[in-house]
Amino acid sequence: MNDVIFMVLRGLIALAIGLVNVIIYLYVERKVFADIHVRLGPMRVGKHGILQPIADALKLLLKEDIIPSKADRMLFVLAPVIVFAPSIMIYMVIPLTDNVVANDLNIGIFYIFGVLTIVPIGVLIAGWASYSKYSLLGGLRAAAQQISYEIPLLLSVLGVIMITGSMDLRTIVGQQSGSLVSIGNIGIIPNWFIFLQPLGFIIYFITLLADQFRVPFDIPEAESELVQGYQTEYSSMKFGFLQLAEYSNVLVLSAVGVLLFFGGWNGPVLPPIVWFFIKVWIGILVVTWIRMTLPRVRVDQLMTFGWKLLLPLTLANIALTGFLQLYFA
């Protein structure tokens, strides 16, 4: 019985860590936006608006919860949960350091992408249940986009798995310790997989943006076309959940990217967990920066890009990795 309690406790701690990071993300994103725009951003709630995310959450909680009269009530309520649940499920398997992980799963990476495929179902249902044309169009767009980009997303990771021969995130990170190139005892280039799998990483990063509807691929939420896409009819905390899910997924995918390509918690001097979070946050800041810089692509351009460029590239990457494996090993 103690085992069970311990397990639940570990899960809760992982959840807490994840959600705290999401809340920080909300604040950081607004501040970074403001900085890029040469303005101040939130300043009123707390010093430098530090309590703004909490105020936002409270506002969302206290707002009137509107369900459109013609909406499918059950599905309308269920959809945000379906969208949000996968990211919580993923928190459980992400190792923060070699021995800090809620649930050690030796097919961790496979599990993460498996669970992520549930998100489009929630999105599609959210769009359908709202009984709004903007929502329906947004939902269809979103689901189509996520499905078509999940394939390159999965395949881009395959190169790393082929090199390590393992789907266990801890093993993958463990193999990235040390340095690739070193002069004497001082490592110049760390032994990160980004240097072995540069193409894989680029594709991973692009598909990450597309999979989570970040600019320039924020087509389902393109406000100038579809208002807010599948989120249009949502209000109050249900809207909060949908938003939370997106931020949370970006966080998760940034963490996965760090684990796969940037050596996870490996790094000198500082404790491993600090290194891990530094890297994750750099990833998030890059995503934020891109969001503020680029315009949006068109939906057909997105599909062409995904199917005609990214997919062949990932396949080529896998083939290349396989040949090199055979040749060198």
Partner: protein, 162 residues
């Protein structure tokens, strides 16, 4: 503990199955099917077959459900389309259900299931599966994939005709 969890999942699964058969709203049906598939995955996880569980989620719960949802949304007349059961079909429907169910019960209770004695290690499951598919059964695997490819191309050709 394991047993309690199993019964909970089993009940959810059965209720969802029942909903699949009885719900009139197509989207609700798909969602119920989704729950069934997810509970199947959960049972796989409980049996330590985590790889299979994830495959179940990835392919059945994820991809196939989405495909069905797409088809339903794009083809039915209006978002509030409901299925109406034809009265004539109903008896045959019940009959076939009973027959299939009876056959299954009969088979399950009469076959001598080989009881495994060794518990596979998690690492082994994936690895064994991989070796089996890519070494032992490589030819059937490739043939199956070519078959699927042909089906895919055929579907595209048919859809393009208009």
């Amino acid at each position: 503990m394991q047993n309690i969890l199993f019964y909970i999942i089993a009940v959810i699964m059965l209720v969802a199955c029942w909903r699949v058969a009885t719900t009139k709203n197509l989207i609700h049906t798909v969602l119920a099917a989704f729950i069934v598939l997810m509970s199947t995955a959960a049972i796989f996880f409980m049996l330590n077959a985590e790889f299979l569980g994830v495959v179940q989620i990835l392919i059945y719960a994820g991809a196939i459900t989405i495909m069905v949802l797409f088809v339903v949304m794009l083809t039915t007349a209006g978002p509030r389309y409901e299925v109406t059961h034809d009265k004539k079909i109903k008896p045959s429907m019940y009959l076939s259900t009973i027959v299939v169910f009876a056959t299954l019960v009969f088979l399950v209770s009469n076959i001598q299931w080989p009881m495994g004695t060794t518990v596979l290690q998690l690492e082994d499951v994936t690895e064994t599966l991989a070796t089996k598919i890519f070494l032992e059964y490589l030819l059937p695997f490739e043939i199956a994939s070519i078959l699927l490819l042909v089906a895919l191309v055929g579907a595209v050709v048919l859809a393009r005709k208009e």
